[in-house]
Symmetry: C2
Subunit: 423 residues, 2 copies
């Protein structure tokens, strides 16, 4: 692992010297190469699928592992899109001239070497590598063990394309895949504080916990989303229903989908029946508190089997599925207490027409994204106008919420003097 | 430790609800209380000094531990100064209106709960606590074991003052000192990912390493400064001498003082004798490479004993003293290789009149602060116009370089909708 780390560090120094135009030319060539490599990629992926079958992966996992032609096309399109985004490196973040004439500039710079740990999907390899490359960062990628053949071939294809454009100026170790599926590799890699600047784990709870426990380098977690929609007594209930339906059902597998509905007591008996019927059209299952349970059961008469009492643990579970917790609360204060206790500080929404209540919710809910009269589903790089994102950070140090190109940068201070010394 | 963590988390929620005016009123009352408590503080400090004597602390360590009247006055002045700085919490960092009408605001928010680990000096307790309080963060402080009595009394004094101003609205656990000197306390505290958001260790190499190895919460290191002055062939040698002298001698005990002089070969024989004589006026000792050694020895004829050959390890040592490494290099490229290999990415300077060379150095040296024709000693919150700082971060995630009030904040995204849902 130390070899990978040293090579990545050297590559990161070389990457910092490339111009935006050079990086974009490489990214476009990488897109072409990925398309041209479709047949060999499909072949490598077949071997991975066999490994996956041997490991007894679920049908859903097998699907995520598969690289079909449309996914390969999408990977290439993603690379071209990253090429078209503005380069954040070198951006001036601050400037100040001191009384002694010293001029200080705060400029965005690459972070350096980034380790990305993720699960199955091989298309993440191209996505993560391209975002890091665009921002001048060297990457060391560690995907699922069943995707090793696909991941290595994708990385090789990207690097070869870069070298075709820039020759030896393209660092051969800018994009590396950990070449082993050995479990010890990860803690070893994450002990190399001299060569690795950041680790970003994306995946399930156990993966994130293991990485956090073993890492000596900074970690930015892309953790679960236990997101809430709180329907206040002063809500426009029609709007609330639309927002709830969207937050839960538009794409339940995502981290910004809602897992829990909190309803203010005064509107519960009016809101819940209509909302439950609407969600039930998508087959949503309800885990309801004792107070809301009979209301929902009555509204869904004949389909009581999709409503059950919420048990301990439900409130902090990310279902990623057509399941929702329902709880009646006594106003915005109790809603916020629930969110602070059970939420994952990802995305939470309030629906209300009362501005004072909304402002309190926006100010006191300590989550990466807090919405007033809008769906939690908006927490996303594209929806924020950032372009492609590497994930949604649930951490508070370094980056929080959608992590696009700007969030893949650090900064440094440049001091321009004419001989200034400190008095 | 878990009790401390839970209390701090609850306090951080309460702190987020205080206005800037309330926080500043508390800080001014804290200053008054520290002054009024001078006699009891001196008494508590006497007990600490006895402990220190028992532990056989060096004279320098005993001096840092001592709280004399002028230090107590300085502590109070520091608190008043923090009160007078603008509150960064709530600052709008970005705003965008999306095509669907959703308005997004990126706002600075407190980080939450911050653990600060430091060595001897009890005045750091007031300084760190006040900066964190101003930014709405709850603190858990862990100073040197010999300073426990002073530290606890300082924290108690600050909290009592806050409660006199705000009553129960001032959270009693906003500022806590780890009440034990038990070594196990630190790893235990830093495993509490649910209750602690950030750890900042300030101190020697072994302290930083131990904290980094044991922490599961994010760490922003305030690590050693192995800073360089590179004198280029195109330097104004008079300016170079002034900058070098300032960087090494103005206050050698600081992390932004220079430890190594790199001289470009074409100007070495002209620059080194004058520079060596100038530094020698302050009793600086030279660890020189084989090429510069005879030049310096000759310039300091009669005082050859202050010049010796640099050995392995010298180049990465932070002397914090009147000692300097000297090495002759072949141009800016070799200077930058040296800095990348031996530096600590803190503060580095180039002296040159050649703009292209300077731009290359500014762009390629990957340090928190890089200077062109100015002393490395400027890396400091006050010198940057930030006001008081909690330290100089040598990390690249979260904050880099001087960490003032703005750098003690995280951010969150607020979304203002009118019922928007995702398509």
């Amino acid at each position: 692992m130390i070899g990978l780390g040293k090579q990545a560090r050297a590559a990161s120094r070389a990457l910092a010297g490339l111009t935006s135009a050079e990086k974009d030319a490489c990214l476009r060539a990488m897109a072409d190469s990925i398309e041209a490599a479709a047949p060999v990629l499909a072949e490598a992926n077949l071997r991975d699928l066999e490994v996956g079958r041997g490991l007894g992966l679920s049908a859903a996992m097998m699907d995520r592992l598969a690289l079909n032609p449309s996914r390969i096309t999408a990977m290439a399109a993603g690379l071209r899109e990253v090429a078209s985004l503005p380069d954040p490196v070198g951006r001036k973040l601050d400037e100040r001239v001191r009384p002694n004439g010293l001029r200080l500039e705060k400029r965005a710079v690459p972070i350096g070497v980034i380790v990305i740990i993720y699960e199955s999907r091989p298309n993440v390899t191209a996505e993560a590598a391209s975002l890091c490359f665009k921002t001048g960062n060297a990457t060391i990628l560690r995907g699922g063990k069943e995707a090793l053949n696909s991941n290595r071939l994708i990385a090789d294809t990207l690097v070869s394309a870069g070298r075709r454009v820039l020759g030896d100026r393209f660092p051969a170790h800018a994009i590396q895949v950990v070449p082993t599926t050995d479990r010890e590799a990860v803690p070893e890699l994450l002990s190399l504080t001299e060569y690795v600047d950041l680790c970003m784990p994306r995946g399930g709870e156990s993966l994130i916990r293991a990485v956090t426990a073993s890492s000596r380098v900074p970690v930015i977690k892309h953790y679960k989303g236990v997101c809430h929609v709180y329907v206040d007594r002063a809500a426009d209930l029609r709007m609330a229903e639309d927002i709830l339906f969207n937050a839960k059902c538009q794409r339940p597998s995502t981290c910004n989908a809602a897992e829990t509905l909190l309803v203010d007591r005064p509107v519960a008996s009016q809101f819940l029946p209509a909302a439950a019927m609407r969600l039930a059209t998508k087959g949503v299952e309800f885990h309801a508190d004792a107070e809301s349970l009979p209301v929902i059961r009555q509204a869904l008469a004949g389909r009581e089997n999709i409503v059950r009492l919420a048990d301990t643990g439900d409130y902090s579970t990310e279902y990623n599925d057509y399941v929702i917790n329902v709880r009646i609360v006594d106003g915005v204060g109790e809603a916020m207490d629930h969110i602070a206790r059970f939420g994952s500080a990802h995305s939470d929404a309030i629906v209300t027409s009362d501005e004072a209540t909304a402002r309190r919710f926006l100010s006191e809910v300590d989550s990466a994204a807090v919405y007033w009269n809008a769906s939690t589903r908006f927490t996303d790089g594209y929806e924020y106008g950032m372009g492609a994102e590497i994930g949604i950070s649930t951490d508070k140090i370094g980056a929080r919420g959608p992590m696009g190109l700007e969030e893949l940068c650090s900064y440094k201070w440049l001091g321009y003097g004419q001989g200034q010394v400190r008095a």
